[in-house]
Amino acid sequence: MLLGVARRLLSMVITLLGVSVVIFVILRLLPGNAVTASLGVSAGLLSHAQLAALDRYYGVGQPAVQQFVSWLVAVLTGNLGVSLASREPVATLIGAALPVTVELALVAIVLGLLIGVGLGMLGALHPGRLPDSVGQGVAVVGLGVPSFVLGTGIVTLLASVLHYFPSSQSFAGFFQNPWLNLQQIIFPALALSLGIGAAIMRTTRAAILEVSGQGFVRTARGKGLAPRTVSWRHLFLNSSIPIVTMTGIQLGYLLGGTVIVEQIFVLPGLGRLLVTSIANRDFPVVQSVTLLFAAAFVVVNMLTDILYTVIDPRTRAR
């Protein structure tokens, strides 16, 4: 078990290293560099000597490998660099944006799990009946409508029909103003959660239907257990492995989804920070945020793997 975790940690480190190389290369392929990014059009007014001095200051002329290594060493020592656009430390920017995105993702995944597992179980326990049909309908809509359409729809509906715009006020942290914070988070979370819920619902339904035909469920009923015990301890527990897998995958997609939804709902999260930074060629910020997304993805995958071994003794290395 411990060895397994160590092996996963190592592969995680290698993955992240690979990701950071890819990010670094892609950013260098974009037109423009740190000097043009930080000075904009006014860079054209500088003399050659001034430009050369600035290039040296930002390390523009250095070989790519050297730039990469010095960046990597800085990151590993906790120095994420300074934003070219705002002159603030990248760590400060991320520190402000991270809680928003984490909250959004958590609320979305919890909503998605509630919708998905709830409707999926209801549907599987009474296939073909009303709750099942409702669930199937939700799944088709949830999987078919992209979150940016749904998000725009929700914003339009709230603002122009109900004249309700929680996003018009500046964002409130949960600990500053929980009530306003929840109003601002719940709708983008809803826009994200429908697709997640739909995917989890389908997985849950299929898994439960498959497990309910297995011998041990008959054994459980045959030995006189209460239906509730049969449903949870035998049916749901055995169906939970594909559900965990799907939830992990959705959590990964969710990170991408927040980029769009934060933009629509004007939430000052990581996604919005990333979009703004890309537009400004703010390399240090883009690099760090992307790496953070990648790290989150890898960590989610690792947690999913660990959760398997907790649920299923067959996957435990002996």
Binding site: R218, R221, G224
Partner: protein, 326 residues
């Protein structure tokens, strides 16, 4: 005469939602307390489904009971609601199944699965744990302490079937339904499981219903046999009577297909020509007619009922044995 412990009358099971196809078509069976009864038949003859129907374990809505009666100690089980039926399942009638590898929950320890059975029937947790240890050593598991804490994938098929038997016995049921519990096991292990259930049956004085297609099991373990064909009991007799003088041509053919001492090595075993009828296409006549060497015109007219053929015997055949040819 005292009532039998378990009485099955005219039990019918159908498959399909709209107009169901009957695949169990009126099964009658009595089981007395402490008695060993065998149900023999080919796959698809309805023996397993009849037993699942007794416990209300048919996978509804695909399969369901269409009619008949199942009484345990005078109480009609088919009329019981789920909460009352639950007190019978596992407690008064326990069942062991064909495939022990898939009959236990792979995610729970053996201990958890036996304890939850006892707790479901009102035993307190600590007593349930003691009892679990007790039954596991009763079923001949040498290392009961290890088995108790093991997960199903860590045990062999034979050990798992022993665990299943321990679980079934833990509540001291009056009836044990053994649904071909040895088919998935190695031959040597089969032998051990058969004698184990035999011993435990005698010790606990419970009734055992053996569902099997193996006449060898029947000969050794049971007092009485019901032979099933196409969803009905076609012959019913004590074990010695059945082997000595079968009253139904199907039983006779089954017995003839057994290898006997003295059969030459590599000799071809006799088989019954044809295959069992499709339950959706049964005509009005005897369902065994197409395969029956004794059949003639009169067998086409109607399906024979189970008719008395002497004390404790019955056969669903228009032709008494003394009119058979060949």
């Amino acid at each position: 005469m005292a009532h039998p412990l378990l009485t099955i009358r005219g039990l019918r099971v159908g498959v399909g939602r709209g107009v169901p196809v009957e695949i169990v078509r009126g099964v009658d069976l009595d089981v007395d307390g402490g008695e060993k009864v065998g149900i023999v038949g080919e796959s698809g003859s309805g023996k397993t489904l009849s037993m699942l129907a007794v416990l209300g374990l048919l996978p509804t809505p695909a399969l369901r009971v269409l009619g008949g009666s199942v009484r345990l100690g005078g109480v009609e089980l088919l009329d019981l609601d789920e909460p009352h039926l639950r007190r019978v399942r596992g407690a008064r009638i326990a069942m062991i199944y064909q495939d022990p590898m898939s009959s236990l929950n792979p995610l729970l320890r053996v201990r958890t699965q036996i304890v939850e059975t006892l707790v479901a029937h009102g035993v307190d947790r600590r007593r349930a744990r003691e009892r679990t240890r007790e039954v596991l050593s009763q079923v001949g598991l040498r290392d009961a302490a290890r088995v108790e804490g093991a997960f199903p994938h860590e045990l062999s098929g034979g050990m798992l079937q022993r665990v299943m038997i321990a679980m079934a016995l833990s509540t001291q049921p009056e009836v044990l339904i053994a649904d071909e519990p040895t088919t998935a096991l190695d031959v040597t292990v089969q032998e051990q499981i058969l004698s184990l259930v035999g011993e435990l049956q005698a010790q606990n004085r419970m009734a055992v219903v053996w569902v099997t297609h193996d006449l060898g099991v029947v000969a050794r373990l049971v007092d009485r046999v019901a032979v099933m064909y196409a969803g009905r009991v076609v012959e019913h007799a004590s074990t010695p009577d059945l082997f000595a003088r079968p009253q139904h041509p199907y039983t006779a053919a089954l017995l003839a297909s057994l290898p006997r001492p003295g059969t030459a090595h590599r000799a071809t075993l006799r088989q019954i020509p044809g295959s069992p009828p499709d339950p959706a296409r049964l005509g009005s006549g005897c369902p065994y007619l197409p395969r029956c060497p004794q059949g003639d015109q009169e067998c086409r007219v109607a399906e024979p009922d189970l008719l008395d053929r002497g004390p404790g015997r019955a056969s669903a055949c228009w032709k008494p044995r003394d009119r058979w040819q060949g």
